[in-house]
Symmetry: C2
Subunit: 110 residues, 2 copies
Amino acid sequence: MVSKPNDVSGDALIAALSALSNPHRLRVIAVLADGRQYVSQLAREMNMSRPLLTVHLRKLEAAGLVNGSLELSEDGKAMKFYELAQFEIVLTPETLAEAAKTLSGGGSDV
Amino acid sequence: MVSKPNDVSGDALIAALSALSNPHRLRVIAVLADGRQYVSQLAREMNMSRPLLTVHLRKLEAAGLVNGSLELSEDGKAMKFYELAQFEIVLTPETLAEAAKTLSGGGSDV
DNA sequence: TTCATGTGTAAACAAAAGCTTTCATGAGGT
DNA sequence: ACCTCATGAAAGCTTTTGTTTACACATGAA
């Protein structure tokens, strides 16, 4: 089969949708759309606690929507930068029905 | 501004994504893609309890993804039919950043 | 050393979602 | 009268998610 825009497993799709269905995480996406940023600075800009932001970033990363990389600044500090992944997910009754077929557990019952 | 494919408020988008990020509800979409159906029959086909299915259908309806209508069968029984709504939601960094701007609470902080 | 910056993670609590069970309704067929 | 099939809704429990507070470590500068 030819690869389509959102050729992901049902489980992966659910992970992505789950990750995106949260105001904080949606705002994170919006801020990262302006460029990559490191955690502490991002936390300041968004006015939220760093541990909380960390959790949200992890969820976004697990869903493959952002990518993190640990880097070192000039003055030797470890900084974790996050940037947006490239993705395009199209949700229609058809694409969703397709995704549902690949859910772990089979087609109709388990 | 011209209406785009997913010209919905950030809150509405989150409701839709939240509704779709569930295996049961994704399967409901898949089954309804084959045609409208009433609750009890749907529950049997999907092998899940009717009260549970009802809750999921409500959530899908609240998100505007399905539509329900109460009808009467030939033998006078009240039957609640659900059918898919037509929708197309495109998720990219850009569309999500747009949606984030319209979240209840403003742009960066509350 | 002390203070600032950056990182990570664990503990504990609050809130929301998911699911089952139970009860109550109404109509038609036997 | 009683059974079947359809609806709706509330109570209660379990699990997951969200959030804060607090702690630990490493670096460079004063």
